[in-house]
């Protein structure tokens, strides 16, 4: 019974998607209804997950299915963040579809399937399950990125993402094979025991396998040197999908990365030095790319790379014994709120065919739509880490965890990187407030997106002092 409880959110999203497809067989079911239903299903799954989050941590089906899933507070909170991301992306999608054509139904189904894969990904405690979850998520996301088949840019984006993602998947499979060769099992629990008895570095197949698997994850997490695809793919994807990818996918991937590194402290210790450099290069590469952008979506994509860098700092600093993931999850939540907020605002401000996405298009927004401009500024300030927003406390926890693990230089480089990032966050605020408007910013009829934006802006302040155990 408890086992069933643990996977209930998975069932809710998966069954919800199927339900949505069945419902669409009825002719009378229209675009608006589908949107509301998609949003409702995400809200429902979120509350299911919230109910589940109050139960303890254990490995469901440990007897029958080789312990393929494990839950902990970490995975449950990650699940909550993912479903919240889904909810707000669905709201953004509703606004998007009132201004753009497209097959609404399949869109929400794919989003639900992707969320289902992500939830499974956070809980997976076995390499094959993990691969299946990764592919459920990725396939749905590929389809979402290339949703508008007629657009050349979308096709380019999906092609890039699909090819590179397939490579990453292949790396992952190869790594699994290696680990199986070294540990004679794909279960995390067994791998932990094997490392405890034979040691990690003295077991070459394990080293090689972990290396390849980390490659695959770092690709999905957009870490240096696997970050090159991010800007084009995020730019090419439809707005709500970009928001969904930047937040939910990132949460799932970092959750699974942490889970994987937590298999054994030896495994983590062996990668700390490399992760250190990856974190530094990810932050600075992301910043340099972001500074050069003139397109808001591309800037947000590049700043997503920078935030991946901060999250890798948290990975460097995790200590197997006392791991709670608090700093990482808080940062992910804070980042997700701000990013989704901007995408929710963009979803109604961008207009048909995403007309307004470059920096200059937002000149003088504050004069015409003061509330939207204020919300976007709040989100940007949160991303930049200005108090009293959630992003500030997120950064606070990340830097504190780096100091606590003794990585002083990493903490300082993190700070230097956030100084650099001020430039491109401020740039949009300067344009919105200090320039004269050239556009009238007329938008489509009333949708839920403005309301969602305001809720997210309030959340940015509301969660900032949520107690987190470091």
């Amino acid at each position: 019974m408890q086992d069933l409880m643990a996977i209930l959110p998975l069932v809710a999203t998966g069954a919800g998607a199927i339900l949505l497809m069945l419902a669409a067989a009825f002719e009378s079911f229209r675009k608006e209804g589908i949107s509301i239903m998609g949003i409702g299903l995400f809200a429902f799954a979120f509350f299911v997950q919230l109910a589940v989050a109050n139960s303890g941590s254990f490995a469901p089906y440990s007897g029958v299915l080789n312990g393929m899933l494990a839950t902990s507070t970490f995975t449950k909170v990650a699940g909550l963040i993912i479903l919240a991301c889904g909810f707000f992306s669905a709201i953004a999608a509703q606004a998007y579809f009132t201004q753009n054509k497209g097959f609404v139904l399949e869109f929400y189904c794919l989003m639900l399937f992707a969320a289902c894969g992500m939830l499974l990904l956070t809980m997976a405690a076995e390499l094959i399950t993990l691969f299946i979850a990764l592919e459920i998520m990725s396939l749905a996301i590929y389809a979402l990125v290339g949703y508008d088949r007629k657009s050349v840019r979308r096709s380019e984006a999906v092609l890039k993402y699909l090819m590179l993602g397939a490579f990453a998947g292949a790396f992952y499979i190869m790594g699994t094979v290696f680990i199986y060769a070294g540990a004679k099992s794909t279960s995390f629990r067994v791998i932990t025991d094997v490392i405890a008895t034979t040691g990690f570095l003295s077991n070459p197949p394990l080293v090689g396998g972990a290396f390849l698997i980390l490659f695959a994850f770092l690709f999905k997490a957009a870490a240096f040197p696997f970050h090159a695809w991010v800007v084009d793919v995020y730019d090419g994807a439809p707005l709500p999908v970009t928001g969904f990818m930047a937040t939910a996918v990132k949460t799932a991937v970092f959750a699974v990365l942490a889970n994987f590194l937590m298999i054994s402290s030896d495994l983590q210790a062996a990668w700390v030095d490399y992760l250190f450099y990856i974190a530094v290069f990810t932050m600075f590469a992301g910043n340099l790319i972001a500074i050069a952008q003139n397109n808001l979506k591309r800037m947000l994509a590049a700043s997503g790379i920078v935030h991946s860098g901060y999250l890798i700092i948290a990975l460097v600093a995790i200590q197997a014994k006392t791991f709670t993931g608090g700093a990482m999850l808080f940062y992910l939540a804070a980042y997700a709120l701000a990013t989704l907020g901007i995408f929710a605002a963009l979803s109604y401000l961008a207009g048909e065919e995403e007309r307004r996405v470059s920096f200059d298009d937002f000149k003088g927004l504050a004069r015409v739509r003061p509330y939207s401009a204020a919300c976007i500024s709040i989100f940007l300030l949160s991303m930049a880490g200005i108090p009293p927003t959630a992003g500030f406390m997120g950064k606070f926890y990340i830097i504190a965890s780096a100091f606590q693990a003794g990585h002083v230089s990493l903490a300082i480089l993190g700070i230097v990187s956030s100084i650099l990032s001020m430039w491109y966050y401020l740039r949009l605020i300067v344009l919105m407030y200090f320039r004269e408007p050239e556009d009238r910013f007329e938008v489509a009829e009333m949708t839920l997106a403005p309301l969602g934006t305001i809720i997210l802006a309030i959340c940015v302040f509301a969660i900032s002092f949520y107690p987190v155990v470091l």
Binding site: L381, A384, G385, I386, P387, P388, F392, M393, K395, F396, I399, A400, F403, Q404, V408, A411, I412, I415, S418, I419, M422, W423, L426, V430, Y433, F434, F465, Y466, P467, V468, V469, L470
Partner: protein
């Protein structure tokens, strides 16, 4: 009421400012609302000043509530002799702005209210994280005020000041987190309370880095040479009220931050680097003073003059003795009042004549005698004439500087002459000499304007003639601060160059 007086002083202006953003008030209504709120803050500030005891040097009016308990971050406020006068400056000077500048849009007054609340918060916070929050929040209104209502080159100036200051604050954030982590490692619990952090024993390279993290942040805000390059642009492009806020109060909070947070926590590092920092203060004084001599735009000239004066105020901290520290705390208010009045008067000139070039003026004193008299008092206080507030502060600082290091003291003392030069020269060119067709039509201050500025001018003179009541409030806390710094030296008054002794004692 008294137990929450500080919170009220912080959040009434902030709430009024935020509320005004949403209310569709006209510019007059918003100005009156701003004026009402700032008068309330003045009254509360006077109440606080009168009920402040100060004989023990401890925090009074303490408020406390947990913010993020898992990390020991709390909402902790308090006032002692060090923060009292800075708090007074932040509380008392604001009504003038609403009374003198009547034609600004609503957002301008909103930002003024928010910045006032945030500055009071930064001055009263005794938890480092809370201080950091207010410290950052007080930058945002300045960002919007310069960017929205500034001069023609405002956007460059806005971006410059914002990125400069945020860079400094982020480095400070790293240092704050480092202190918290160290405290957790040494005491086994989380806390960012400044009283507890001052008991830390810090050593090693990282502590020095953390020290510089704090110093850079404060040096940018003060601004201390060589971090002053944002200042001329920002002061010149900002609307007058913002320049007034920046120079009269915000810069002082930088100085206050050094006294409050750096002196008790990093005593050893401060002692080690005091000479370099003191030199940077003196160089700043000279450099900005000479730069001020060469300016043709009077706002720019006063910007440099302000930077030059901040050099001497900062010098007072680095001397690390009771005279200099008392002098610094005294001078904070003295300079806030004098420079505040000067900037406001020049704002009036700028508004009436629509020029800032010194050469366009002449003979203003014949046309506007009251205006000229007020300006003269503020100017004389600013150059430190005996009988004005500026004299007491600068005298104490130079006294302390001579004790600290005679060479520094002599240099600082002689550099004050530069200040006299450019100020008197400015006065001569603007107020005396022949009137021209521009100044022919210059109107003197209206009665309301006169009554607005008069109290501050009286205060300048009062503080120059009766300094003792103010010094009595400052000194116990200042003495405590110094005692915690120099445990090896029993009586601060007898020691020469305590910090040299301190280093010897430590070694």
């Amino acid at each position: 009421m008294l137990e929450h007086i500080i919170s009220i002083m912080i959040f009434v202006p902030i709430a009024a400012g935020l509320g005004m953003l949403f209310l569709p008030l006209g510019r007059d209504a918003s100005r009156v609302l701003g004026l009402a709120v700032s008068v309330i803050v003045v009254l509360l500030g006077l109440k606080l000043f009168l009920s402040f005891d100060g004989s023990t040097g401890a925090f009074e009016f303490v408020e406390q509530a947990p913010l993020a308990e898992s990390l020991g971050i709390s909402y902790r406020l308090g006032v002692d002799g060090i923060s009292l006068l800075v708090l007074m400056a932040a509380a008392l000077l604001f009504p003038m702005v609403y009374l003198l500048f009547k034609t600004r849009p609503r957002g301008y007054y909103c930002n003024l209210l928010i910045v006032q609340g945030a500055m009071i918060g930064a001055v009263c916070a005794t938890d480092l994280v809370l201080f950091y929050i207010f410290w950052e929040v007080m930058l945002l209104p300045v960002f919007f005020m310069i960017g929205l209502y500034g001069g023609p080159k405002r956007i460059g100036a806005t971006v410059k000041i914002t990125i400069y200051t945020i860079a400094g604050s982020l480095l400070m954030l790293a240092s704050i987190i480092y202190l918290g982590i160290t405290y957790h490692a040494q005491a086994g619990e989380w806390s960012f309370d400044i009283a507890r952090l001052s008991s830390l024993s810090l050593g090693g390279g990282v502590a020095t880095l953390a020290f510089f993290g704090f110093m850079v942040a404060f040096a940018i805000k003060i601004p201390l040479f060589p971090f002053h390059t944002w200042l001329p642009d920002a002061y010149t492009e900002a609307p007058t009220a913002t320049t007034f806020v920046l120079s009269a109060i915000m810069a002082k909070i930088g100085v206050y931050g050094v006294v409050r947070f750096v002196v008790p926590v990093f005593e050893e590092n401060l002692a080690r680097y005091a000479l370099i920092l003191a030199c940077s203060g003196v160089i700043g004084m000279m450099y900005c003073g000479i730069a001020a001599l060469a300016q043709k735009d009077f706002k720019r000239m006063l910007a440099f003059s302000s930077a030059s004066h901040m050099g001497i105020i900062a010098l007072g901290i680095f001397c690390m003795n009771i005279q200099a520290l008392t002098g610094t705390l005294y001078q904070i208010v003295a300079h806030a009042t004098s420079t505040g009045v000067i900037f406001l008067l020049l704002g009036i000139i700028e508004e009436r004549m629509e020029t800032r070039s010194i050469d366009d003026f002449g003979g203003v004193a014949y046309k506007a005698p009251v205006f000229a008299a007020f300006f003269a008092v503020a100017m004389l206080a600013s150059v430190g004439l005996p009988g004005t507030s500026g004299f007491i502060g600068e005298f104490l600082i130079i006294l302390g500087a001579v004790k600290f290091n005679p060479a520094i003291g002599v240099l600082a003392g002689t550099t004050l002459i530069i200040g006299v030069c450019y100020m008197l020269w400015l006065f001569q060119r603007v107020f005396f000499e022949k009137t021209n067709e521009r100044t022919e039509t210059f109107r003197d201050l209206s009665p309301i304007e006169t009554l607005t500025i008069l109290p501050i001018v009286v205060l300048i003179i009062a503080m120059g003639i009766f300094p003792q009541p103010f010094i009595d409030k400052i000194q116990p806390a200042a003495r405590q601060q110094i005692v915690s710094v120099t445990p090896a030296v029993p009586a601060a008054d007898e020691a020469v160059a305590e910090n040299t002794l301190l280093i010897q004692a430590r070694n």
